[in-house]
């Protein structure tokens, strides 16, 4: 947990020098490194810049084909592939948690600060285990 806090603090201090996408990618990577879903995490996103940032670090596999992905990172609901509804979704806007039922978490900017929300019941339903490191971001429901 401390590590994640440190990352957030680091994100704030580094923000002046790094792009928003790079910070976003670093936070997301930290989140995905602390979740377990029984299979290899392969990322797909409608935000191509974000995918490029993931590719730079090489911690996770990325794909252009959403069918090969295990987690879809969605910035806008209209970009969510209609056919593959059973994939785990991580959204980049708090309101999308409400709009996309299979989304289990969100990383978004609120009042200029990075925020993380993980919906615990949805994660459980999708057999996603969230480590203790991320416990403080767990929420039972969407407000």
């Amino acid at each position: 947990m401390k590590k994640l806090f440190l990352l957030l603090a680091l994100a704030l201090s580094l923000f002046a020098n790094q792009s928003k996408s790079a910070i976003q990618a670093q936070i997301l990577e930290k989140i995905f490194l602390n979740i377990e879903m029984g299979k290899e995490i392969v990322l797909w996103s409608d935000n191509k810049t974000l995918i490029q940032e993931f590719e730079k670090t090489g911690h996770f596999k990325t794909t252009d084909d959403c069918r090969e992905a295990t987690i879809l990172i969605v910035e806008e609901k209209k970009n969510l592939p209609k056919k593959i509804c059973n994939k785990a979704v991580f959204v980049l806007d708090y309101d999308l948690l409400r709009k996309i039922p299979q989304s289990f978490g969100s990383m978004f900017w609120k009042k200029g600060r990075p925020n993380i929300v993980l919906i615990e019941p949805r994660a459980k339903k999708q057999r996603i285990t969230i480590s203790k490191e991320l416990e403080m971001y767990n929420e039972e429901k969407i407000w």
Binding site: A9, L12, Y94, K111, G112, R113, N115, Y137, W143
Partner: protein, 637 residues
């Protein structure tokens, strides 16, 4: 003058530079102070409004059945009302205004969000990373978070909402202001001006420094002798008005027989010896002493007497010994040099530096006459009185006018026949109060002046008068300039031409060390003396630079061997050999030899081993104001 002006400009620029640095620093400080005041003012305004709002909220919430803020704001009507109220704070600077609370799991959540953009839902979690949020709960005091450039947030102001002495929630106001940028932009021309001025000052300071550097280089050139790298007379003139003679002793140094080096090995060798000798001088003195090349092979040394570690006489002795043990090698020749030093311990007693130099020069002359390679110190105040009274030309002139010039006579001993061979006439001046002044006190000052010739004339007359009516022989000292003086010549001719009895008993001792630049004229004058039946002696032979051929050509009757060679003959084997060689040379050239400076029994006995003809010195008899007889000899010691 250049130095003062340049230094003044540099100092002025330096002060100006300091002033600009100070002003720039003050402006920077003022800038920070302005930002701080603006920030405080903004926060004070916001704080005031929030305080009122807090009271209002708590008052209304207390009327609510549950009385807690969560339930109060769950009511959409209440929330709407206070959102509207809070949104009144939103301005172009204030971007977000909202109320947070901390839930039981220590998570911060929104109670109310009056922001027009990026609005949060009621009870939505809000991740905070700054410690000030928790600090506010602990201290119950407002907190300020400065976070420049994070999503344009400049300051986050946290204000507690207190209920029953506890923090139940907190106002959060995020405001962004570009006032700092505006101020920075406004003062940028001023900063640029200061930067430019600073650059100009640095350039001017550099130029002034270069000028000063150039000045000192030029000054060094002007005041340094190029050959010896010591100070020159320009420097002496420069410092003399500022020189406090009370802090110095003054020494005149002269390399002995330097002209021989020049004549024997050439001027390049002379220059080499001079530069090397000056290095030895420099190594032998201290940093506080001042060495000046006074002219030719003559140096002036100002010995600082403020440091009591070494006395002036010690320094002079050290200098003399160091020169003596140094062997200068030039073009396969090994050249040994000695130095004579005249020291004046109290130059401040003189009228000025020039007068003090004259005294030191006099001591140098004494050192030279006493056999060279020695330090003669002038520090007795009693003798000062004598010397100072006799130091000028008028003293001699008055003595001549008032008939106070006398002669003392020192016997020249013929040891083979144990009899006085002849007498050497030595000049003295009697002061008005009856003191006898030796020639060293006044001769150097009158050298080659008209008074000198008059004095020589007076001596000639005195001697002629004394010896006219007896059968004794006498020697009179003369130098080349005397010899060629028409008045002196006339005196000699007039007195000796018609008195052959007197002429045949007179010997003219011509100083070998004097510069005889016109050999033909010299020979002519010697021939004149010979024609008068007078005899000629070469005085101080071995001390100068005689051309042996000239000595032989003039057919001198006597060679008087220089005292510096004789006086150490008992202890110095080299001197013994030189004297022996001179005696041999004289014998081969039909000249008789006289050894002067016979000051001890040892010297006398050593001379007996050589085929010397005559001897003269204090061991035999000191000069007397009368003609001593044989039975008065050898009684002085």
């Amino acid at each position: 003058m250049v130095k003062r002006r340049e230094l003044f400009i540099f100092f002025l620029l330096f002060l100006l530079g300091l002033f600009f640095i100070y002003t720039y620093n003050e402006i920077t400080k003022a800038k920070e102070a302005i930002f701080e005041r603006i920030e405080k003012h903004e926060i004070a305004k916001i704080s005031y409004v929030l305080e009122n709002m807090q009271q209002q909220i708590l008052l209304e919430a207390s009327k609510h059945p549950s009385k807690d803020l969560l339930s109060f704001f769950q009511n959409k009507k209440n929330a709407k009302m206070y959102e509207d109220m809070l949104s009144m704070m939103l301005t172009s600077d204030v971007k977000y205004s909202y109320i947070l609370y901390k839930d039981t799991k220590e998570k911060f959540r929104f109670l109310l969000d009056a922001s027009k953009t990026d609005k949060a839902n009621f009870n939505q979690k809000f991740d905070v990373s700054s410690s000030e949020y928790n600090l506010l709960y602990r201290t119950k005091k407002p907190q300020i978070i400065r976070g420049q450039y994070i999503e344009n947030l400049y300051i986050t102001y946290l204000h507690p909402i207190m209920q029953d002495g506890k923090v139940v929630a907190l106002f959060t106001i995020d405001f962004t202001t570009d006032i700092k940028t505006i101020i920075l932009e406004s003062i940028k021309p001023l900063e640029t001006l200061f930067t430019l001025l600073a650059v100009f000052i640095v350039i001017f300071m550099s130029m002034t420094l270069m000028q000063i550097f150039h000045y000192f280089i030029t000054r060094k050139k002007i005041f340094t002798d190029p050959l010896t790298k010591t100070f020159n007379r320009n420097y002496l003139e420069e410092i003399s008005p500022l020189l406090n003679l009370e802090h110095y002793s003054l020494a005149m140094l002269d390399l002995d027989k330097f002209k021989i080096i020049n004549d024997t090995y050439g001027h390049k060798a002379g220059d080499y010896v001079l530069s090397q000798a000056s290095e030895v001088f420099k190594d032998s003195i201290r940093d506080s002493d001042i060495l000046v090349r006074y002219g030719g092979e003559e140096f002036l040394l100002l010995i600082n007497n403020r440091s009591k570690t070494k006395s002036d006489i010690d320094i002079c002795e050290r200098l003399r010994k160091n020169i003596l043990k140094e062997h200068f090698s030039y073009d396969t020749h090994e050249i040994n040099v000695s130095v004579s030093i005249g020291l004046h311990k109290y130059p401040y007693l003189e009228k000025n530096l020039q007068e003090a130099i004259k005294i030191a020069d006099k001591m140098l002359y004494v050192a030279k006459r006493s056999g060279r390679n020695r330090v003669i110190c002038y520090d007795e105040k009693a003798s000062r009185e004598d010397f100072s009274s006799s130091a000028d030309i008028s003293f001699v002139k008055e003595a001549i006018d008032e008939d106070r010039v006398i002669c003392h006579y020192q016997p020249i001993y013929d040891f083979k026949h144990t009899r006085i061979f002849k007498y050497e006439a030595l000049v003295r001046i009697v002061t008005r109060d009856g003191k006898i002044v030796p020639p060293l006190a006044f001769l150097p000052q009158i050298k080659e002046t008209n008074i000198h010739y008059k004095l020589t004339q007076r001596i000639l007359l005195l001697v002629f008068e004394t010896f006219k009516n007896n059968n004794k022989l006498v020697s009179i000292n003369m130098n080349f300039s005397d010899l060629i003086n028409p008045d002196i010549e006339e005196t000699i001719v007039r007195n000796l031409r018609d008195d052959q009895h007197l002429a045949s008993r007179v010997t003219f001792e011509i100083l070998e060390s004097d510069e005889i630049d016109d050999i033909e004229l010299f020979k002519e004058k010697i021939n004149l003396l010979h024609s008068l039946k007078a005899k000629v002696s070469i005085d101080d032979f071995g001390s100068g630079y005689s051309n042996f051929k000239t000595i032989i050509d003039i057919e001198a009757n006597f060679l008087k061997i220089d005292g510096s060679l004789v006086k150490n003959i008992d202890v110095n084997a080299k001197d013994f050999k030189v004297v022996k060689s001179i005696i041999h040379f004289a014998a081969q050239s039909n000249m008789q030899t006289i050894a002067e400076f016979v000051h001890s029994k040892e010297v006398y006995e050593k001379l007996l081993l050589l085929d010397i003809d005559f001897m003269q010195g204090y061991y035999i008899s000191e000069p007397k104001n009368y003609l001593v007889e044989s039975d008065e000899l050898f009684k002085i010691l």
